[in-house]
């Protein structure tokens, strides 16, 4: 399954002590999110991707010990981001 997100210019992001605030311009909604949600949104800035691709994009920037574990985490976070209207099934 492919996921996509609005381009980075659609969001304002403010980091606050571990959490991040995201203002989503198309909807006018504000979200308080924890890692790795902002990182997943950044990774989707390179274009639509499936979970394995997202993990490999993240692995290029972050130290990921167990890719299988990471895929489970990313899948769960994608579902939450989709509920908030921040990512979409491509």
């Amino acid at each position: 399954m492919l996921w996509r997100a609005d381009p980075p210019r659609a969001r304002r992001l403010v980091a606050l002590d571990g959490l991040s605030l995201i203002y989503h311009r198309p909807s006018g909604m504000t979200h308080v999110v924890a890692p790795p949600m902002p990182e997943i949104l950044d990774a989707l800035g390179e274009g639509p991707a499936d979970v394995a691709d997202i993990v490999s994009r993240l692995a290029a920037r972050f130290d990921i010990a167990d890719p299988a574990d990471a895929e489970a985490v990313v899948s769960a976070r994608l579902a939450e981001l989709a509920e908030r209207g921040l990512v979409f099934a491509a």
Binding site: R12, D17, L21, Y23, R25, T30, V32
Partner: protein, 287 residues
Amino acid sequence: MSRHVAMLRVGPIAFRVGSAWKGPTDALRRLYAGYPVPAVPDFTVRLEPQKRWRRWIAPSVAIRGDYQFVGAAPLSLAHGLLAAEMGMNLQMALGLRRYLLLHASAVERDGRAVIMTGHSGAGKSTLAALLSERGWRFLGDEFVLVDLVTGQLRPFPRAVSLKNEAAAVMRAEGAGDRLLFSLDDTPKGRITYLRPDDAAIARMDETARPALILFPRFGDAQAVRLVGPAEVFVRLTQASTNYVTLGEPGFDALSALVRDLPARAIDYPDGDSAVALVERLWAELAR
């Protein structure tokens, strides 16, 4: 057309209050004597008779204005001043676009301000009034106005509405001559209106830089709790009446405020301990 009119400016906001009765506008003119009188209002409040059938039960005041608000309780004529004040709050809360509006109180010292917010009854009004008797400048007890461009606070020194026993606290502080009206049996209990002191009125156009955020709560043993920035942000969005309407400028103003300022929740059993806590946190934390 309303038969009776009071015009007044509080901080950057000019109000025109029109009333079918003389009482509410007379009370407003007395409570706000010495405030600037604007030529053109930003917001209009109208106090008009309820539907005709209510007249023969008891005279009752309906609050109307530029913005209508379903659920704005009609009040008895004896509560006309409260109706006027509520009407002013409603018009501000619904209509203001120039400032981020926080339901909070604020006081200033040396150009820097403490913002205090909490649930209704948490004591933010009383605490602001108390601090203003003890060396702080009163900026407002109901709304804090954050300038969307500069991040500075614009004072909005409306009359302080003190609930129930808070009036006695202020009388004990020596502010009894500024307690001008007391209304019994309102939807919020007994409300007493305190006119802000002369300095608060004379300096209402002097802005202040926000320096500390407090979430006061009256009633428990003295305690201080760190509040993390994400929680502060969420609580302030809930305390804001126009955050969603403002869109991105509101997000920018609020996130900058939260990112830059220390915040604490404070519990206190009485006014003296509250003042002592604020002074201590101010000395330790204020930016």
